[in-house]
Symmetry: C2
Subunit: 598 residues, 2 copies
């Protein structure tokens, strides 16, 4: 069959309407469904653009009827026929082509289809490895087709906007020097230089900064990035980011650009109106109020500082923790129809808190006339109305407390409770809630290795007021850093960069890179900074994660055409795989297979 | 300096005109030139958008004058000042900002610049490794800036056109299975699976075909591709191609799409009108007429078959070669002012021919009244006018002959002479001359390995009439293959693909892949072909080469932001480089350094 010329389509399967009534047309596509209805044979013919109903009438030639009988699901066929109106009773207003059908005059089978490993039908949920092995079938589902289109549209809309704003898209190399810090590099052995390797970029960070030194002024790139980390639902070996860098900017220039960009793109692609500006929260505010640095603002339930009330209470545990310099935080879970704040459920919430280090979860129920009862109520005698006012509690609500010596653990433990409540109480609004998290700490202490390291990366600018105390008090230094968060996901991260050799070296030193090592690894950046670098900054929204959020999915696999599975394997082509000995020899490599563990 | 807030630009260096007279502005940019003129200090301030003249007047404050004196080339500065009209005698109509200058009121040095390794000035030609080591300085030149802009504009124009035509851009994976054939794969060791590797794609060929099986219908991607070949001026380890694939198409659909696309893009980006359709030459025609399969049509000098005249001549060498089944071809080099067809020059031409296998280059001069003289004239007695008519020769022209037993060597030898003449006689028109080369042989014989292999790749469709003789006579099989050629460069290659398992297996077998090996390497494609694949085809123009041609460069390094040098090294970051032992251990690799040759 392959060898023969075929009848080429004159229309797609989504195009014909009653205006085409009477026309002879050719359609190419796949048998989506076929069924006999009396002596008639109906075929739903599908392509990327839609579905058209094809009918083999009972007066069709024997040859045509025989071909129609041969058809099976997902055969690829060409149909020549005449467009006719459907009988009124058969009109399907849900389909673009629902007013017409095509009376088949000729059907050519372009290729046959073996029995399907799963139905090409949405709502059907084969297990992921089966979907990935037969990705060519999975891609035919409406869901995957829509998401591939959404991804295309999202990226194209971004490009149009940035081109309009005078940004240049520049391709940076993907065979670069290995400068490991943070995640592991994927590396590529050189055939020409035995023992030497290129690395795949974790991001184009250094190259985009060098482009700024090169006077490119406004750069972007839809860039493939690579991190050799263990895969998860929202991580892949390779991923795509919108990489942006701008010269002569301050923090707010970057934030405003992204707000305008996303306003434009969400409107163009999804007809969705975002607010002109996004809420800004400092890292501390976000931790204090939402218990994490990527808050889901689609539901409320803020957290409150109740140190003062807790210290006035007679609850010994709170007293002890506060005496040790600790914190007590509380939130108010709203009364919700169908949800019973049972002991069992409170235990579930407590378990969520414990994962993040809380030792317990104290609670109080708010009853009729705002009378408190249960849990730690008895310790709050005389403090009832103050507590209720602070938390804005109402009848039927549940007040929950976490106390911890460590501020961060106190916040994140209660934050985990907040997140669980949002889901369980079905409080999550259907919307896209963006916010900025700013004023991040520049350094964090690596307990394991016993030194400070960059919380974000080593190229971010400390805020001016900390310049004199970088070395003496790294822990309190805030950086000119910003994260963009949407619906509980971090979807972009950026900063104003250092562009001064000496300051850059100070940061390297604080992060335990002596001058020699820093020069060896990052010498080319330091060199560039000796030749008139401009002040610059940037940001890098993750494309996979953004499209995942926009399409209301929970795994980036759903928005990538050919993802690896969570074991970093492609079930379709079985990569990674072994090489020929010749390939290994050419690359001067010997495999050092780990010994079986005894 | 880095640490201080700076005065941010209110205009770029290319924006101000006399309409801005009197305004206070801030400019950010680099000191392009600065000079003293009497008591005045002139600074040409440059950014990506242009150059603006800044003047420090003689009545400027001491502080400002001192800062101005401190300035050196390529310092990055912020200038606050007042726009004023230049005196009439100083107006520069060549500059967008040539009517104005900015009287400086404040200058801030944002960063200093070490002494330059070369001048940031076009026309200056530092050696390539110096340019690549300091690419951030090289990128500041007008030439590099223009080419980065052209590349951006070219790619964006392509995207706009293809999006308009309903193509979807889909990102295919770059960590895939190694399926070496043709060039070597770059590979990436897996940390999780000792001894296993991913490969970087030589092109997204199999994935784009699988996207067609997945019903994507019209796909494109600006795709990064990788080939582990020794680098040359127009090759790089990594390169970028416009990858296109379409379902339900025949050859002409692809050709017409590309013609329309390039018409649109050349008009939009360069305001250049291409012909609506490009010349089509069969591989045989192209070889016969231009001596290669990527003819430069910017000059004429066609080659002619003169077997008949040569056989009637008395030149023994021609007679012998013809008797052995060989060929004689000729061309006519036109009389050109300033060029003397001396013996010395003819020897140079002969040397060019010999590179491709010719044993000699016979010649005849055309004199006044079309009288022939010199070289092999004496053997062509009585054939003079026939020869002159055949070649369209005129007074002062030089007729050149190559004879060879092997048709291809005969063509390419004389083709090399044609190419040299085009350059030496300065016949090359300033234009973009596209043509299609079609009807390529599907297979070529690998003498070294002793079997047939795919001339293009193994997924291309043989032309229908050869289907029965694939195995019996592979050498004469023509494929549904097409190359797009411009100005002597191959700039795209494509084909209609096989979409039938059995036919695909026959091709694998002819190319010496037994069924087992084929299944092991390409099983995922064969599998896909079992599930209703559509007829499909595509093409892949090379982006680097196209932009190189458009910007009249001769190396793709000129149109890539950060290329490797011809030794596959990046002089800027010194990649490839050695890894830490820990990295090697994590990847289960031991380096097998080759022993010194004795």
């Amino acid at each position: 069959m392959a060898e023969e010329a075929f009848s080429q389509r004159t229309a797609t399967c989504g195009a014909l309407t009653k205006a085409d009534n009477g026309k002879t047309v050719i359609l190419n596509g796949w048998v989506h469904r076929d069924r006999n209805h009396g002596a008639l044979h109906f075929i739903n013919l599908r392509d990327r653009y839609g579905i058209t109903q094809v009918v083999v009438d009972d007066d069709a030639s024997i040859e045509l009827q025989d071909t129609a009988k041969e058809l099976r699901m997902e055969f690829c066929i060409a149909v020549t026929g005449i467009v006719r109106l459907r009988p009124d009773s058969m009109v399907n207003p849900e389909m673009a082509t629902g007013e017409i059908e095509v009376k088949a005059e000729k059907i050519e089978i372009l290729s046959k289809c073996a029995p399907l490993p799963f139905q090409i039908d949405d709502g059907n949920e084969p297990r992921e490895d089966l979907r990935l092995k037969y990705r060519y079938l999975d891609l035919r589902t409406q869901g995957m087709q829509q998401r591939m289109k959404l991804r295309n549209d999202f990226i194209f809309s971004i490009r149009k906007y940035l081109e309009e704003k005078n940004f240049l898209e520049i391709e940076t190399p993907t065979l670069i020097k290995s400068t490991p810090e943070g995640a592991r590099d994927f590396v590529v052995p050189s055939r020409i230089y035995p023992g030497k390797f290129y690395a795949l970029p974790q991001s184009p960070q250094l190259f985009k900064q060098i482009l700024m030194v090169g006077g490119i002024d406004k750069y972007f790139q839809i860039a493939r990035c690579y991190r050799d980390e263990d895969a998860r639902g929202d991580r892949q070996l390779e991923f795509t980011q919108l990489d942006i860098e701008m010269s002569f900017v301050k923090r707010d220039d970057v934030l405003l650009l992204i707000e305008e960009l996303f306003n434009h793109v969400f409107k163009e692609v999804m007809d969705y109106d975002l607010p002109a500006h996004f809420t800004r929260l400092s890292y501390h505010e976000s931790m204090n109020t939402y218990g994490c640095d990527k808050p889901d603002l689609r539901f409320d339930i803020p957290m409150f500082d109740v140190d003062d009330l807790a210290s006035k209470s007679s609850f010994g545990t709170f007293g002890e923790i506060l005496a040790n310099g600790g914190h007590v935080k509380a939130l108010c879970a709203p009364k919700t129809e169908g949800v019973d704040f049972s002991r069992k459920y409170i235990t579930e919430l407590e378990d969520a808190a414990k994962i993040y280090g809380a030792k317990g979860l104290a609670w109080i129920k708010v009853g009729a006339d705002k009378a408190l009862s249960g849990g730690v109520t008895k310790f709050f005698g005389g403090l009832e109305s103050e507590l209720i006012d602070r938390l804005g509690a109402n009848e039927g609500d549940l007040i929950l407390f976490v106390a911890h010596e460590n501020w961060k653990k106190c916040c994140t433990s209660l934050g985990a409770v907040r997140t669980k409540l949002g889901k369980d109480l079905k409080l999550i609004r259907k919307s896209f809630e963006f916010c900025w998290i700013i004023d991040f700490p520049l350094f964090e202490y690596n307990e394991e290795e016993g030194h400070w390291e960059a919380a974000h990366h080593m190229f971010s600018m400390p805020q001016i007021e900390y310049l004199d105390t970088l070395e003496s008090d790294p822990g309190s230094v805030k950086g000119d850093l910003y994260d963009l968060v949407c619906n509980g996901y971090e979807c972009a991260s950026g900063s104003i960069r250092i562009h001064d050799v000496e300051l850059q070296k100070r940061i390297f030193r604080i992060c335990n890179f002596d001058d020699e090592t820093a020069e060896e690894r990052f010498g080319f950046l330091l060199n560039a900074f000796r030749y008139g670098p401009p002040p610059h900054g940037g940001i890098a929204p993750g494309i996979d994660r953004m499209v995942m959020i926009m399409s209301e999915q929970t795994s980036i696999h759903e928005v990538i055409a050919f993802p690896k599975n969570t074991a970093a394997v492609s079930p379709m082509d079985d990569s990674p795989s072994e090489l020929d000995q010749q390939q290994l020899d050419d690359l001067h490599l010997i495999i050092n297979k780990p010994k079986q563990k005894e």
